[in-house]
Amino acid sequence: MTKASSSITINKPIKEVFEYMASPHNGPAFIPNLNENENIFPEKDGVGQKFDWRFNMAGVDLRGKAEVTEYTPPTKVVIASHGDADSTWTYTLEEAGAGTKVSVEIDYELAETALQRIANKAIISKIAQKTTEQMLDNLKTILES
């Protein structure tokens, strides 16, 4: 498993940040290269919520299924996904003054078939790190302005 992580402080209440971030409906809006989350069921966010995802990494379409495995409002969400890339996404939130400190950690492993389609493993590592930083920056842009 390879790891990518990042954190940021968002000047919004923890409840608001959690509600937006924890919903798979909002994923494509703030996660770069995540094209879509579909077949989200059940509608209500929580443990056991499942969905199909499609991610574009270096021009290659990766697909899979995901499930929310931990949902502790308003501090933690863990999403486990399987498919072309097996990964675990952990969102941790904590109050920071009037705002919220958001941390994201992604543990991922690309399936061999997907990896074979992408030339350089080092590039993937850079893209994953860039993705975590960009997603939090996007989240800040969406929620603060």
Binding site: N26, P28, P32, N138, T141, I142, L143, S145
Partner: protein, 152 residues
């Protein structure tokens, strides 16, 4: 003549990338400004070397110039209504304000977007350059994703 063969080879490669690849996955074609300028320039270069097709070459070069000046996307495979719907959904997802006025849209009180139906399922999306906010730029990124999520 070698210019013709090089331009033709590039044209085939770009056609495969821009059209064949998305359509093979039953997804719409979306060519952004830089891609569209490059594609038009290659086509113009290929036609320019053929004496009989020179007028077409000049027309395409003029189109490329306008695409370069006015930020434009070419979209094939979805209707104008579907594109408008994708824009509304993108604005909603990024919590950006969206106003519908003068036959176009204003995103985050900042960026003007117009959707022009050319014919059938061919449309042009134009953006008025300058002063885009960070949220408006993010909305455009999400807008592109939502258009490409449709099936043809």
């Amino acid at each position: 003549m070698w210019i013709f063969y090089i331009a033709l080879s590039l044209f085939i490669l770009f056609t495969a990338y821009f059209f064949v690849l998305p359509l093979s996955k039953k997804r719409p074609v979306l060519i952004k400004q830089n891609g569209l300028v490059t594609y038009c320039a290659i086509l113009a270069a290929a036609l320019y070397s053929l004496q009989t097709a020179m007028p077409f070459s000049i027309t395409i070069a003029v189109i490329a110039f306008f695409v370069f000046i006015f930020k434009t996307w070419f979209v094939y495979g979805v209707t104008e209504i579907m594109i408008s719907d994708a824009l509304s959904k993108a604005a909603s997802a990024t919590r950006a304000s969206i106003e519908n006025n003068d036959g176009g849209y204003k995103i985050d009180n900042n960026l003007r977007i117009r959707i022009h139906k050319i014919m059938g399922r061919i449309s042009i999306v134009s953006f008025k350059k300058g002063g885009e906010s960070k949220k408006a730029k993010l909305t455009v990124v999400v807008f592109k994703k939502f258009i490409q999520n449709y099936f043809v």
